[in-house]
Symmetry: none
Subunit: 197 residues, 4 copies
């Protein structure tokens, strides 16, 4: 994310500044929300000059994306030998992130930003979603190789559909049932279909 053309000469970038910027960004995100964040406010809060930020990032989206990425945790890829068990573990993990007021808000913020800001969407996709997709892809590939799902199934499409269902629920479904249950119902449709054939 960060511009890095450094050729070993000159004073090196300050790691304290790096961290102060991310810290301030996260604080402000929680306090005033993405729309109302200003780069000036981040600089002031971080105790850093504006140039120090502009040297690292070119837009607010980049800063926020980097701040979010800095929270990323390792995502263990389940491998129980059974497809549905693997899926349960993954969806439990995802649901647990979303199924809280803060989780919903965060995701809503991301969707809001991404939908009105293609650059942020791409950054978020490659920086944050990639890992999750890879985990899911591996679980699905293993199921495929075990013969549990069809050989020509479009794994990317399946993940897209599932992701879409989750995001749609966060935005448009009132909070009646747990996300987890909703995801399971969706998965069942995806795998068994609804036609009578």
């Amino acid at each position: 994310m960060i511009k890095q053309i450094n050729t070993a000469t000159g004073r090196p970038r300050s790691i304290e500044a790096d961290q102060a910027i991310l810290r301030a960004t996260l604080d402000l995100l929680a306090e005033v929300g993405y729309q109302s964040i200003s780069i000036e406010a981040i600089a002031a809060r971080a105790g850093v000059g504006k140039t120090t930020i502009y040297r690292r990032y070119t837009s607010k989206e980049e800063i926020v994306a980097d701040a979010i990425e800095s929270l990323r945790e390792d995502l263990p890829i389940p491998n129980t030998g059974n497809f549905w068990e693997d899926v349960d573990i993954l969806t439990d993990y995802a649901a647990q992130k979303i199924d809280s007021p803060l989780g919903r808000q965060t995701l809503a913020l991301i969707i809001s930003t991404a939908s009105s800001n293609p650059q942020f969407a791409q950054v978020y996709k490659t920086k944050y979603l990639k890992l999750r997709r890879e985990a899911f892809t591996q679980v699905l590939e293993r199921a495929k190789s075990r013969g549990e799902i069809e050989k020509d199934a479009d794994i990317d499409l399946i993940i897209d559909i599932l992701s879409g269902a989750i995001y749609y629920a966060v935005v448009f479904k009132p909070v009646t049932e747990s996300i987890q249950v909703y995801i399971r119902r969706t998965m069942r449709v995806l795998f068994q279909g609804v036609s009578t054939s």
Copy 2:
């Protein structure tokens, strides 16, 4: 949407101004995108004072929502006797709306606003989505009664999943294939499933 406290006295609101504002907004939406639209630009383009806009709307979202609503048309419910043909007609119609810069902008705006504004989400759902959902519901119910899809299939869920897939694509998928093709692929998975059972 428009504030209407007019009490019949004084000079009446100018209908030319109304239309010029909506026209200018749609033009600018297509040209520069939602984020980059400024109310000042709308006023200038419409040949209208800023006051004239602020007297009618309180935010950019409102103006844009009104501009978009002004484009709404009636939605015929297909009934060919064959499920896939009906689906084709519906998705063709939806795809045709989305598959243009303005269409994508519009949907993105709606998702953005809805995700950070639950009230708007509900209003949009009942005011704009209801018609489309009813059309789809009727097509699916007829298919069910013809025995083309399973009796206990959750129709609401299917529509949710399909909607989610479309919204997800608009936000996160680069514009490579046509939306129409993408919707068809999604429908196929939804109806046939991917498991080998």
Copy 3:
């Protein structure tokens, strides 16, 4: 000096703002000096937005020039019947203007701007200096007709020399003696000369 393209439409320029800007500029001139004045500081001090200033002026020089011009007063031409008394009145008046921090700042600014800007020099000469020259010219002419100075004396040259001496002192002489005394010493040389002939 002020940009004036006003075409009678729209809200008229605020006279309060005009005056607040000039007032703040003069205050800051006296407090921090020309070099250290920032437009931001003028705006803050005047309780006015920066745009309100930029709508009126295009540079710091313009603002300061206008502020100074706003101080211009009428200049009475002395006529005591005695040359040296008249001269005393005129030089007292001039010295009184220069012998203060603001006065020196002002004159220094004018010299600075004029020396790097011939147009400003001419404008200043015709708009501001003319009155003073005319006063001095009249006093000298009367002295000539009374036979106090030589018939073929070059009055313009005398004024030039005196002006030059004052300006030179403002720029290069440290503030040791009062300007008034310095002017008197200069006048004595000018009128009596230094040769032994």
Copy 4:
């Protein structure tokens, strides 16, 4: 001018850097003018780090003064035995420097800078004017000892008046007659006076 606390140990100052700084400063002076010169630009043009400049100078004025001083030439002090002949030689020399577009511009630049910048004024006075004043002082002292001018004549004042007249002409007089003629006319007034006594 240059700070020199060097105690023989460590790497000595680079003479190439010294010269590159002066060279770059003179180039930029001619290209963009004093006001628009930035130390960063000098450093870049000279191919030198900013530290290397700040180690030598403490302000832009100092650098520019030093750059100008580096152009200084020797000034021969005339001694013909006749006062007016000596004066002619000195004023010819001065006029010759000023009586060209470049000469006028340079002097205007100096006046402009000096008048809005007392530090520069003092530096310029001691570094550049001193020699010229000394030459003139000597010529006047010799005339005094020969009895050509009065014993109690204030030589410093005479030089101030003459300098002021020249500077005033450069700034405010249109370029009609040659500087040389103007200086001679001024000298005549200074030595013979204008009173009829």
